[in-house]
Amino acid sequence: MATSSEEVLLVVKRVRQKKQDGALYLMAERVAWAPEGKDRFSVSHLYADIRCTAMATSSEEVLLVVKRVRQKKQDGALYLMAERVAWAPEGKDRFSVSHLYADIRCQKISPDGKSKIQLQLVLHTGETTNFHFTSESSAMKDRDAAKDLLQQLLPKFKRKANKELEEKNRMLQEDPLLFQLYKDLVVSQVISAEEFWANRVSMNSVDHSLTNSKQEVGISAAFLADVRPQTDGCNGLRYNLTSDIIESIFRTYPAVKQKYGENVPHNLTEKEFWTRFFQSHYFHRDRISTGSQDLFAECGKLDEQGLKSMVGQGVRNSMVDLTSLEDKSLDEGYGISSGPSTSSHNKTLKENSNAAIIKRFNHHSAMVLATGLRKQDAQNEQNGETSSTDGNSKDSDFFQPSVKKVKLQEAIEYADLEQENGRKPVALNLKKSDRYSHGPTPVQCQQYATSQDIINSVNCIRHEIADYTPRLTQVLSSSTASTAIAALSPGGVLMQGGTQQAINQMVPNDTQCELKHLYVAAGELLRHFWSCFPVNTPFLEEKVVKMRSNLERFQVTKLCPFQEKMQRQYLSTNLTGHLEEMLQTAYNKFHAWQTRRMLRKT
């Protein structure tokens, strides 16, 4: 309640604050707010404490205000509202920067070590806005508070429909033909966008599922070595952990993942967890079990057990089982009997530590290999407990004796060295094979010469050639030569067929391109049209009528201007005859269907 000395300058009822109904009281020296029904102020600010007020629309609720935020080198305050984030310069009460959460694609923060504490908003359009937090005391806290709030709010506003839009955009960008078709049909409003996408989006979702099943990237066996520590300058070590490395560690050592799940974020922060991890002897070379409250001591024990079980299972694939290749001694002089070489009594300390490292290496490699198979097993079996993931190759399960035999046989036999015992093919039995040797020439000579004619001709030619002397200066007279040349010149008798074949050289390239686009667009429309027949449902009836009007519209808006353009260019070739024929066929079909429908109705 206001103290008795305070003068209430303004009371505004029905004012909500933090989702509670109440009233706002402007007093002489402060502004205060009390929830409805209560008589105590829950919010009270002296005017002296207020730097500036924000212009929010009446329905907006301000979730967070951060003062001392610079944007573009201007001081101001950042306001996070219910649906947008905005910034107002100091002293002003209008927002100069305002972004809806729906427009924001993601936010970025400056790394911790930098002197400037910044928050960047990246919009869907690619624009970025930077906010610099300059409060001396609490810049980091402010920034983190803003970041956390945005992190919670942004996912709510992600447009779900955007995904489809992005998909469509991607399709249009990838396929220039589709893009051209889209431009021709939808942009010029011949058909609507839904019709255009109606057939395509279904194809699209199939593709999407196909592209999702990409191959998993395996784990590099050296990932632990990549975590190279750097000296911090003051006796400390910095480990740079990327999310890839963290993922590798989790996938290879599921025990660590389990520990992570148990402890973070309840007991330890992420940073502390990893610090402990790297400090623990689990990670280090020499695993001396300390028995302390090391978080990871258990992991060490689990690993030992895992390794022992792996060794115990042995190698099932008898083709690669080296342990079975031992000399077995029959008698003196036959073979060597080898005693067990791995007795732990005789080992020196060095050998022991070497053995430990080798054991760790083997275990690490086995775990890395197992990650690849674990995925398969997880898909095959519901509960992965009975799967033989750690240490066994999958095919060892299948190595029965028969399979081994088959494998051996494959290795020693070559198919093309075998004897051929194929089936005998059916023989071709041709009765009149001389028919093949006749070409498309007439069976008999066109001209029939009597034997007398033949004799006469032969005698005649013999006489003529007997007196033959070449007279090369009198081979050609100039008049015959010039008629021959005239016949061979362009436009002459013999040159008539030439111009018709060069149609693609006569028509300019851009006209050809335009014609191609027209064909593609017309083909698309005609496909929609003809797929409506036979017209069984009312939906198809509507569609047929719509498609006919679409075709007409196409003809008017696209085909006729093209024809006029061609006429203006004096192209005599009829390039659009076929298109018109196709459209006319469609119109005729529609007309026939319509008359039949009318007849049926009456």
Partner: protein
């Protein structure tokens, strides 16, 4: 340098069917075999003179044999100096041309003298002459120096009609020429020849039916003298439309749509339940009654 030039070999196959030429002499006395040989000689001289490294061969295609008119087996390049009958060139012509022309005229006279036509051998052995031409080209290619390349083409001057019996051989020759990248050009004097049209189409040569026989030399020099590289730069008569229709095995009619036996690949114009070539029995399903058009079909009548 001469060694860098690509050699060009032209083989002219002249159809000297005596029956046709004899009849031609009676029909049109102003254009006889003599005139034709003169035109051929002009063309061959022109070819030899174009480039020093050009080569030539002329084959006469008779109804009983194919005979090389040029070059002669017994002639060598340096022979003419000692020959009595020819004392150099009489009209100042390049000696090689003189000798060549003399050779050709002598050979054609010998060939026609020993002509004897027996029985039904009235058709020109064109396929055989083309095969000889291909063999000659092959031999010359083998005798080239290392690094030399040669382009060859065959010019066929055809007078008489096609022989139906030579169809298979002819097609084999054409495909062999195509494989060897040898052009076959055709200059047809009388009736159009479907086989030569196919040959020119397949090998990439030129086919020309000469409208005026007396201007033969002009046509030969204009159309057939340039080789294939030069032809791309010139405006020459456009290719003829070739009729590639097959002939049915039953009537030898040319058909566009027919029935083919799936066993022996013989072509028929009508359906018959048994193939007459290989005696396989066939069943054919009758087409269903046509329902309303479902697909976008072009109306064909």
């Amino acid at each position: 340098m001469a060694s860098d030039d690509e050699l060009s070999l032209l083989v002219i196959v002249v159809d000297v069917n005596p029956i046709w030429w004899g009849q031609q002499a009676q029909r049109e006395p102003e254009f006889t075999l003599s005139k034709c040989m003169d035109a051929v000689m002009v063309m061959s001289n022109a070819h030899l003179v174009m480039t020093r490294s050009n080569k030539l061969a002329i084959i006469a295609s008779h109804c009983r044999e194919s005979h090389f008119l040029y070059p002669n087996k017994h002639w060598k390049a340096g022979d003419f100096a000692g020959d009595e009958s020819s004392c150099g060139s009489r009209d100042g012509k390049y000696e090689l041309l003189t000798v060549g022309n003399d050779l050709i005229s002598e050979e054609i006279k010998n060939l026609m003298e020993r002509t004897e036509v027996r029985g039904q051998q009235t058709e020109t052995l064109l396929a055989g002459s083309l095969a000889k031409a291909l063999c000659y080209i092959h031999r010359v290619t083998k005798e080239l120096d290392a690094g030399q390349e040669m382009k060859s083409r065959i010019l066929v001057i055809k007078a008489a009609d096609d022989s139906a019996l030579q169809y298979m051989n002819f097609m084999n020759v054409i495909f062999a020429a195509q494989k060897q990248s040898i052009l076959i050009d055709a200059c047809v004097l009388d009736a159009d020849s479907g086989l030569l049209q196919q040959a020119c189409d397949i090998t990439g040569g030129l086919y020309l039916k000469v409208p005026q026989k007396i201007a033969l030399a002009q046509y030969l020099l204009w159309v057939f003298l340039p080789d294939s590289d030069q032809r791309s730069q010139l405006v020459l008569p456009p290719p003829v439309h070739v009729d590639y229709r097959a002939a049915c095995f039953c009537h030898r009619n040319l058909i566009e749509i027919g029935y083919v036996c799936s066993v022996c690949l013989s072509i028929f114009c009508n359906f018959s339940p048994i193939c007459t070539t290989c005696e396989t029995a066939f069943k054919i399903a009758l087409p269903h009654a046509m329902k309303a058009k479902k697909k976008k079909l072009k109306p064909t009548t």
